[in-house]
Each structure stands twice: as C-alpha cells, then as structure tokens.
Symmetry: C2
Subunit: 364 residues, 2 copies
DNA sequence: ATCGCAAGTGTGTGCGCACACACTTGCGAT
DNA sequence: ATCGCAAGTGTGTGCGCACACACTTGCGAT
C-alpha cells in the first residue's frame, strides 16, 4: 500500500506514462504531447515544467503504443543497382528484405529504386525520378559518386536524411555510412596474396571494365591500399596490369597467354572488383594452380572457384549487413529519433576454402 | 466508394483485423480470439469457419497491438559463464544487451544466470537454483555438456523451450543452436597455420587447463578438425603437446624453453581455446617471430598480440551474434510463434593484423 | 463595447488486440 | 419441473499514445 501522491518514490522499474507526466506537471496529456513532439503552443512556464519532469523521470515513450496510435507511415527509399540472382547486389537485397520485415512493425516501409550499375545515364534518370518522389529517408549506393554528391545537396535542402552504403563520400552530409574501408580491404588482399611469396615474383592485376566505364571509386581505393601494402613490405616484383573483358573468354585467354608467356615469374593475381572468377577460369583452364589469386565478394561464381581451390582467398564486405543496417538505422531515426554512428566500418572478412561454407547471406 | 460487403475484393494491402475476420465469419471478435489463441470453447462449426477465413485472408496479427494489449511479459533466462572485462564472454554479453534492448519492446525481459566456467560445482548449484526459478525460455551455454543434457530433460518436461550457444549438443531437444562448427573451426586453424609450411616442421599444441578441468567439448572438436586437416594434407612433422598454466609465466617459460631446445624444427604453434596470448607472450620474449601461431577468439590480449604481429591469425566465432540471435530467436518464438532454424552455424572468421581493427563487438 | 484572432489548453476517440466478465443454451440429474 | 453445469458466445474495457476538435483567455483593432 503506497500513498497516491508519492509518484516519484514508487517502483523505479514501473513505466512512466504520459498521463503520469501530465499529473506531475499539473497539465493535460495533450500539453505533454505538444512538448514531446515540439508542436509548440505551450506557455513558457508549462514548457519548462514539463521538460523538467520529463528529464527527471527519464521518460521513455512506449514505441509500441506510439506506433499503434499514430499510424504514421514512413517511407525509406533504397537506391541500389538492379541485379540478377547470384550477383553481388543480390546479397545486399537479402539484408534489405530482412530489415523490411522488421521495420514494417513500426510502420516503416521500404521502396526500392534500381539503376544499372554499368550505365551512368540510367542512374541520372533515376535521380530525375527521385526528385519528384516523396520519401522520408534514403539509403544510397554511392557507385556514381560525382552524381550522388549534388543529389545529396538536394536532399539536404528537402530535409531528407540519407545514409551511404558500399563506399563512403565523407564530403556529404550523410547521417551514416555502412560499409568497409576500401583502402584497408586492399591492404588485406595484398596480405593474403603476398604472404610468404618469394621476393621478385610478379603479380597480375586484372582490370575488368564494362562498356568503357572508369573503375569505381571503391576499386581505386582498394588498389591504393593494395599498393600501399606492397610498398611497405619490400615487394620486389612487378604489378602487371591487364585489361579483361566481361563477356569474351577467348579474347581474355589470348591476352593472358601472352602475358604469362612474357612473364614466367608470375606468382599471383588480383582483381579489385567482384569478377575474379574470370581470372580463375583462365588459371583453371591452363592448370596454373601455383598462381595465387585473390579477389572480392562472395558471389556464386567466386564461391565455386574458391571451393575448388582455384581462388586462394576472397575478401568480403558483408553486403547483407550493409543493407540491413542501412535501413534499420533510418528506421530507428524516424521512429525513435536515435541517431546512428556516422561511420560504421564493417569487418573485412577473409574467406578461404575451409570457411566459405558458413558465409551465407541469410546470416545477419 | 466501394460497397461494404465485398470484404474480400478490397485493397489487398489493407491490413485485415480481428473485427474483419469476425464479420466475415459471422461471429464476435472474442470467438475469433479464442480460435487464434487456441483457448478452446468454440463450436466445431465456428472453429472451422474461422480457420477457413484466417487461412484465406492470410491473417497476420498486429504484433504491436497484441503486445500493447496483452501486457504479457516473457522472461528469457540466459545461462552463461560470468566474466571479467576483456574476456571472451564479455563479447557475448554485448550481444545479449543489444537483444535485451530490442526485446523489451515486445515485453520480453532477460534474466542472467552466471556460473564459473572453471568450476563445475558452480554450474551445478546454478542448475539447482534454476529448478526453482520461473522463466519462459532459456539460452544455455553448453560448457558442462554432461550436466546440461539431464537439465534439458527437465526443461522438456516443464515445456520450456531453450537454445544452445557456444557448442551444440544435437542429442538434446533444443529449439536451435547458434555457434560455429567447432570441427571446421579446427580445420580453419590448421589451414592458417600449415599453409606453405615446409614439410617436416613441427607444431606445438598448447593445452591450457584450469584447476585440472578436462578440456571442453568445443576444444576437443576443434582439435579433431585440426588433426583431420593435417592428415589430409600430408603433414610430415609432429604435433608436440604441451601443458601450460594460466597463471605461471615462469613455469611456462621453462617448459617451452625445454621443448624448443629438444625440437629445433618447430615452425608453428596452436591453442584451441582463447588463451593463445600465453604462447604469444613466450614467443615474443624469446624473439621467435618465425614461429607461426594461431589461436581462437578476439579477446583483448589476443588482439594486442595479433596487432603486434606475434600471433599470425585468430579464428573467431562471433560471440556477440550468438548472444544476440540466441535471445532474439526465443523472443520471436514467444511473441510471434516463429520457430528458428534448428542449426545456425555462424561464420568462422579469420582475423589477421590487417583486418582485426574492424572486428569490434558492437557490430552485429 | 465588440470582434477577430493568436496563443494556449483539455476532452474524447481510436489504433488492433487480449481478456475479464456476463450471458445464453441445452442437457443430464434429481 | 427445476437445477446445476459445461459448452459456447458476445460486450466492454484498457494497454499508451497521437491527434482532431472544441474550448478559453487576453489582447489589439475597430
């Protein structure tokens, strides 16, 4: 039996509700509501008193009740490349889907906006569409950095928060970034490739481009990290750049036959995007199993080449976690007003034949 | 303007509520509620009709509203070793805490029950306590397997679901397991240690025991996997078992000095629990940087030894994810009736100097 | 002197569901 | 013929909050 007036000495684990706040401050729940949601129209005295009470009792709104009562629905736009099954961005989508299922409970829905990652104009057209669309927050893949930057300026003006995935653009006012350090992902690849490699061995750097697009910001950063590692570890050999084609196996074979003929000391190879299966296919066909090969991303074709022992190691960046956390961070912001950490560098995973079986995209 | 009676042709995205079900089945919401919660006391005709409607419209209860209305609070017991800061189980606790914060929204609370992982009787006393405690589900660390097994029989009788973490005991009726394959974690360690090692090199196997306890089930499995890998890769050297002590550096140094003196061809070392920093400390003091050393778990002391280049690689098992998903899976079961996959083998992470900075326990 | 209006304030309703409680019906026992 | 009781069934309330709406107060303009 406790008296009714000692509101503040009661069970500290009991939840404090808006009605309790109202009673303590001597106002109605509507006035408390106005303060909580900064709707204005509250006298200075009441504002101060209510804020004081909110502070003192550490008021935590019941998000369940809030969500049920408000019915407010938020839309999170997800702007990423379209993909076919088994491609890199399919794993990303798996994370989005999981986030979508969880966020729905809080009246947050996801709308997807896809573009062709090999076609800049497709991205530009998408941005044009987004200018006319209405949404409350956005997850942006930063592949076309020079187009993303001005667009974020528009979002800033519209007051729409956004987070980046895939690679960071620190010059933008993004609420958060979820992804790996591309530079250090390059360092890791170098370590995996170079470890215990005899001095003077050469390394092939496979550049696989598409329709003449320049390499992505992310690939450039990885290559910087890679070269940085070599520079710090007295790598005595040469890096042999080679241009390969996405769809022309015969042409690639000729190019590589020629390269390997001219450089018999090649002991390793690397690609900085997710297409190392191309180099792997060549090495397998020529039975060059002594050549170490390191690439990026757990896409199906890379996975197979790794399992067969042709690829030495893959460096991966948890795309499903990027997708999941990208959406959920915005959900938390919209629903609870919780601001995420601004830079979230995800782990740079090392995958080899012996552990790849356990890296599947259904694990968040 | 749509007519009121065509309930089933209306907007398919509209949420179907209990009142809608009731109207379609020609009963009250209470009767629908009885069917949904299997409370009985419903005539066969109504039961069939309501179930038919539920099925047809794919009724999904609004968990938000359910949680708000029921006020039902579930208790998840978490039974794990006590720990000091920087120890392995502290990372596990980080995942528990994150899950706790999320689960609270659905009226699920976590109660922790700790034991001394080096003291079997402490675990037995805890089980005695748990027999008298009331909880709705449990997360169990399986360190003392032979004590866990009979206890789960009691839980089965009490109808309390439980999940395992750390290592699996497939013979129990656990609802799920979250953790790594200990066997394959041993395989991975062997791969990391043995890769490109000259044939005939010897490897030290450090056994660090505490108060005479036998090694854990998990450590034994890892060692099995390790030896299996070596057997399959014509390892020509010897495995040199050595007993080390947790608290006696001088004694360990004498033991190891003696071992290294007798076996000059030692090229590698491994431990199967999280105390490889002990071997690392020895190797650092003797400047044996050429000896490769592989161990388990990202605890603070191992992290330092890895960053300094003394430990070659660590194999890790995402304890924070084990804790998080262990709790959340039970939360989903209690609140939504969603049954988790029974075996959830988490990735076996490979950590080296170049990527360890990004493995921190605040990342789920 | 009255009116319009801005600034404040409170009441009441509903979000979808769970569940207490009251109630009806029909059958077997007396 | 009435009663007790089990089996069914429906009404009403509240979970904590958001917000529409009605209302009051006081001041400046006319």
């Amino acid at each position: 039996m406790r008296s009714d007036h000692d509101d503040e000495t009661k069970d500290p684990t009991a939840t404090v509700r808006i009605v309790d706040i109202a009673r303590m401050a001597g106002v109605s729940t509507a006035t408390v509501d106005r303060v909580i949601h900064r709707r204005g129209k509250v006298s200075a005295g009441n504002l101060a008193r209510i804020n004081e009470v909110l502070e003192r009792v550490h008021y935590r709104p019941n998000l369940i009740a809030r969500s049920l009562a408000s019915g407010r629905q938020y839309v999170v736009a997800v702007v990423t490349p379209r993909f076919a099954e088994g491609e890199y961005w399919a794993d990303f989508e798996a994370g989005i889907q999981r986030a979508e299922a969880e966020a729905r409970r809080f009246n947050v829905v996801v709308r997807r906006f896809g573009f062709d990652q090999y076609d800049r104009s497709s991205f530009e057209r998408l941005l044009e569409l987004l200018r006319r669309e209405s949404f409350d927050a956005a997850v942006l893949a930063t592949l076309f950095a020079e187009r993303v930057v001005p667009f974020t300026g528009e979002l800033d003006r519209r007051g729409i928060p956004y987070v980046f995935v895939d690679s960071d653009l620190p010059e933008c006012r993004r609420m958060a970034y979820f992804g790996t350090s591309s530079f250090d992902a390059g360092v890791v690849a170098a370590r995996l490739l170079f470890e215990r490699m005899e001095a003077g061995a050469d390394i092939v750097v496979g550049n696989i481009r598409h329709r003449g697009e320049g390499g992505s910001n992310q690939c450039r950063e990885r290559e910087r990290g890679f070269r940085d590692y070599l520079a710090r570890h007295d790598f005595g050999g040469r890096l042999l750049d080679v241009e390969l084609r996405l769809d022309d196996e015969a042409c690639n074979a000729r190019t590589l036959d020629d390269l390997f003929a001219r450089h018999p000391s090649i002991a390793g190879a690397v690609t900085f995007n997710s297409t190392c299966y191309i180099l792997a296919g060549y090495l397998a066909s020529r039975r060059r199993s002594e050549v170490r090969l390191v690439g990026y991303d757990v896409i199906e074709r890379n996975r197979r080449m790794l399992s067969e022992g042709i690829v030495t190691a893959l460096v991966a960046q948890r795309p499903e976690v990027q997708g999941y956390r990208g959406v959920m961070s915005l959900c938390a912001w919209l629903v609870e007003g919780v601001r995420p950490a601004s830079v979230n560098n995800l782990p740079i995973d090392i995958l080899v034949k012996e552990n790849i079986a356990y890296y599947t995209n259904n694990i968040i």
